[in-house]
Symmetry: C2
Subunit: 475 residues, 2 copies
């Protein structure tokens, strides 16, 4: 947490307050409680409250907010479910937090086309509930019950990405509102298109810095005919990781493939009342036809067996699979609980699959130097994992060490032609890492796009990258 | 072909000619033959030659060309294999054509990561030849032996996209040269990333208007353990299309799924010496494990049978499959040959899968009014097909009618929430259709990006969209 924040800033202009009150009534608030609630997320940052909160219920509400704020030169920060890990929603430059959680209408389910269009505040669980009678699912699953607008904004993915891709592959189109308050629809419902610049993909992952996302159209998938989950543990981390690498290199279409370190399993056992053996462990899920699931699972079991995998345990009943994946999804809370009062700082590197072992073992080695506990968990089928650093937020020493170790883990991944963030995004926290990974020339192109689309720098300002060129090192 | 082109323009500045001669020697040419060769493609446009041609052999050559041309305010048009269908490479505003075909080095094959990095001029067949010993393939197959730079620039796809996606999903990263001559690398070799704006996807599909692509990093896939192709014909177009719709809605992972109209089959029989029955026909390819291929093909056969599909014929030997897909790939030439002297104007609409029948039958109905022959062929598993309009290029009447019918087919697709181009791109030809499909607000965002990245409008100028706002209709 090396960034510095000014706490002194001008109050909201009275005319803006009047405009927002006139338009939104009680849906515009400046109470301390609401401001604080919108000034924090799942990152380890202290609360940075906005100057006011608007609850949007329609695209028109977003337009009104952006027009008023742009006229007054006041920042606007989109707020979904607040489940960001990287400080995306913090108002370190003040302004208005626009809460989209009431934009929670599922607008259209085109079951016959396997697409759905939702307002930005709809969460992935809500969408899947709405899909229940259709035989279709929206598989992208970052763990948290995030909003689809937020997931699009951070290019989220999660456990299923190894098979279904990330939001990059699964958003067909967006309705966005620009800084000037223009409503623009990008993309169509066609599965592919060569029609013009890919504005959809430009906005997916733009973290609220180029537009406010109002609606999201996503791809859906047929509910698999059969599914099975399996748990397998290994003597060594390297054996588990090599089993993953071979599975991916053989092209076995696993639906999920998760690694958990031995102490991560311990924390999960304590939190979720499971009785898993405390060893380096892989969780798998297989989906497809009955035959396909059988074939995939036999192939993976053979690979795991060769590498000394033990206790290959099956969960085919839906309730058993749910229990397993709930335990996995609660890993973050399990980690938190294992050191009362701690905050979790999570790394998020992703590397080419052949470097997974070196990247994961390298991270484990780096973390042996930590004065606090740490655990490893992640979507290893994509080359993506998280080191969870359990720091005492009241210890500047621990916080500083955590950032140093985080940086070393990132540098290791970038040196392997990987990325500092597989799925969490940049936000405030990873700005120096993006600069290092992408390089000044690429960041310059991003600056050009940002300046063009948000000339007053009011959309989630100060996130992702600095608008000023990085000063050259003094010799 | 409604666009108008000025043929009077200033000659290349002498100082630019001297600079290019000094840098490139004989690799810079102004001979009529080379200029004409670089002023045409597979579209029906007349030749529009550039003022000179540069043969780049390295990224540095691209930098030198762009620096010199930018200094002199002269347009630069990237040229790959010349297989564009939409006039992308035509020099209607003059300038320098930068031929990238000699940038044909496969720079790296990371078999263990299933990625390859190539120079922009490497063609898909060349890459697959280089992959022969690895057990991996690059499946994206637009039919023509296009260059990977060109395929990235047009967001190409083709027969395999129903399973593997388009260039949008399969380009991991690019090395590009900006108008100012800066070399920028976008993306990493990680399978997924949330690190910053998605510059890779911004440049994929930008048709040479934002940068010149120098290197492309793509995903590879394990060669399937088993593959089988099948041909099935139907009494009615609607039955064939409904078989496709059901196949896709069931989530059967077909690798290819192509429709051919009865007269298209006739033309193919004449061109490729095949003996297929002249009826509405589907070509399928199934890939996977032996069990998987068997299961998929049984499922599809059952669907086809229900809809009266006949003569379900199998091709499992590689040479038989090759013969079938070569016949399909030569459909364009077969169509051309069926009316000597004709040019083919191809539509390229793509619609949500449930609208495929209405879209395809609507196109067939519209084409009953054509005074020239037409055939239907396409990647129907994606909702994408081509109406091939066989026009006499010397008949202004036929050319005008062809454009009118093309426009009606496009409008039908756009009204179904589809796109005017599934894979060919906009180029010169589809500019009015992009404007109609995307709308003025989205085009305005594209203009902002274009002006930011190419402030002098020298990169393939005048393609995709007009930089000037569309005038409001006078009441």
């Amino acid at each position: 947490m090396t960034a510095h924040f000014s706490t002194v800033r001008p109050p909201l202009p009275d005319t803006l307050v009047s405009e927002l009150q006139a338009h939104f009534g009680e849906r515009f608030s400046r109470t301390q409680a609401l401001r604080e609630q919108h000034g924090r997320d799942e990152s380890a940052y202290p609360i940075m409250p906005p100057d006011g909160v608007v609850f949007a219920e329609s695209t028109d509400d977003i337009v009104a907010t952006l027009r008023s704020c742009t006229n007054h030169g006041v920042p606007v920060i989109p707020f979904g479910a607040g489940s960001s890990m990287e400080g995306h929603v913090l108002a370190h430059q003040g302004g208005i937090s626009i809460d989209l959680s009431r934009m929670n209408q599922v607008l259209a389910i085109h079951a016959e086309d396997m697409t759905a269009t939702v307002q930005a505040g709809v969460t992935r669980r809500q969408l899947n509930t709405a899909l229940r009678q259709t035989g279709l699912v929206f598989p992208i699953d970052p763990g948290a019950d995030a909003s689809l607008g937020g997931m699009a904004a951070t290019r989220a993915s999660g456990t299923n990405a190894v098979r279904y891709g990330s939001m990059r592959e699964n958003v067909l189109g967006l309705t966005v509102v620009t800084a000037a308050g223009r409503v623009v629809r990008t993309g169509t419902r066609a599965r592919k298109s060569s029609a013009g610049y890919d504005l959809t993909r430009l906005f997916v992952g733009s973290e609220g810095t180029l537009c406010v996302i109002a609606e999201v159209t996503v791809r859906l998938y047929p509910e698999p005919e059969a599914a099975a989950a399996a748990v397998c543990c290994f003597e060594q981390v390297s054996d588990a990781v090599n089993a993953v690498i071979q599975t991916i290199q053989m092209g076995i279409p696993v639906a999920r493939c998760e690694f958990l370190s031995a102490n991560m399993i311990g924390a999960i056992n304590a939190h979720s009342k499971t009785t898993l053996r405390e060893a380096p462990t892989l969780f798998f899920e297989f989906q497809g036809s009955s035959e396909g699931v059988k074939e995939q699972s036999q192939q993976v079991q053979a690979i795991a067996h060769e590498l000394g995998g033990q206790d290959f345990e099956w969960a085919t009943r839906p309730e058993d699979r749910s229990r397993l994946w709930n335990a996995r999804h609660n890993a973050l809370f399990a980690a938190q609980q294992s050191r009362p009062g701690c905050r979790v700082i999570s790394t998020d590197t992703c590397v080419p699959i052949s470097r997974l072992a070196a990247s994961l073992e390298g991270a484990a080695h780096i973390l042996t130097q930590a004065p606090f506990p740490s655990m490893l968990v992640g979507h290893v089928g994509d080359g993506n994992f998280h080191a969870l650093l359990l720091v005492d937020p009241d210890s500047p020493h621990e916080m500083a060490i955590a950032e140093q170790l985080n940086e070393r883990i990132v540098r290791l991944a970038v040196a392997m032609d990987g990325t500092c963030t597989g799925e969490h995004g940049i936000g405030l926290h990873k700005m120096p890492y993006l600069a290092e990974e992408a390089g000044e020339d690429a960041i310059d192109l991003m600056r050009i796009v940002k300046r063009g689309l948000d000339p007053l720098n009011l959309l989630n300002p100060g996130k992702m990258f600095s608008l000023e060129p990085t000063p050259a090192p003094t010799a």
